[in-house]
């Protein structure tokens, strides 16, 4: 097996809570290394308390049999690691993708994923999972889930 094949397999694993995006889209696969037939995959958690972490690790092990999956608990994942394709898939599914960290720090603009309006307001910092906030769009009068930038 070569590295590209491993990446291809990982792209087929959906996020357990938001199945429209894959683990690769989510940016949680930090590296894939294949040497002498041994596959080593570095996996970074999103939120440390996310109950899907164990599930994701097992899903990788099942998808790539024999792979060594190493969980990396450092600071290498942020929402900026979500790929451009992943962000678009989130938006299409009605989730506002997280603003890039640089932009978030400079402005507090949050766009509605349905109508694109920036006339939105925070309803609750916390939402159905730790990674999401709840916002309301004053233009199209839709509540929506906003990915937190972390």
């Amino acid at each position: 097996m070569v590295e590209a094949e491993v990446w291809g397999l990982l792209e087929e694993i959906p996020d357990p809570e938001i199945p429209v995006i894959s683990l690769v889209d989510l940016g949680v696969i930090r590296s894939v290394d294949v040497s002498n037939g041994h596959v080593r995959i570095e996996f970074t958690p999103t939120f440390l308390g996310c109950p899907a972490l164990e599930y994701m690790k097992r899903a990788i092990e099942e998808k790539v049999p024999g792979a060594e999956v190493q969980v990396i608990q450092d600071d290498s994942w942020s929402t900026d690691k979500i790929t451009a394709a992943g962000r678009e898939k989130l938006r299409e599914a009605g989730f506002a993708p997280p603003a890039p960290r640089l932009i978030q720090l400079q402005s507090q603009v949050h766009k509605c994923p349905y109508c694109g309006s920036t006339e939105t307001r925070l309803e609750n910092i916390f939402g159905p999972t730790p990674c999401r906030s709840l916002r309301y769009c004053d233009s199209c009068r839709q509540p929506f889930e906003q990915f937190k930038t972390i």
Partner: protein, 214 residues
Amino acid sequence: MREQLLAIADDELFLGWRESEWTGIAPMLEEDVAFSSIAQNEIGHARAIYQLLVGEDGDADALAFDRPLEEYRCAPFVELHLLDWAHTIARRWLYETADEIRIAALKADADPAVAGLAAKIDREETYHRMHAEMWHEHLKDEPRFRDAVEELWPYAIGMLPEELRADLAGRIGLTLPSDNLSQAHERGTHTDELAPMWEEMTEVRRSAPAGAQW
């Protein structure tokens, strides 16, 4: 350093448990959701620190749940069973303010594993601080809230090692008692509330030593 990390992990585990007690009974739905998420994050931070301490293949649950009570390093502050919203929010605000100070110190640690994990935890804590600051802004002029902050202050001091306490006092706007080491509720002592909390937390684990399956 091991002792310091264990103290923080124990604080996060027991405070996370306390915050989760509001799930379903907070004064408003938004706070049900907020407290549940915060509790989940804090317990996740505890798990990650325990894992760091036992190594990647070690048993973090055993470290978290199987120690004799006297070996837990949590501060008395996180053990308090607070049934009143003003006190609960006062503790949230005091806790997050103190936690920010010690996480900043850990981010500068020479060990990249410690500094990296601290930086990751800090990203999530940003949202806890926003929530705590929002409530502090709402309640800061309310006498009930001010009283709760003052009542809990000697407990909050006990969260931090002595060298970080002046910074906390400055941010909270209260004075540190001159003999704060004798007046604070220090880490290493426990309230009577730790034992019943730990018993509840570990009940299933202790009743099924071979591991509960469902």
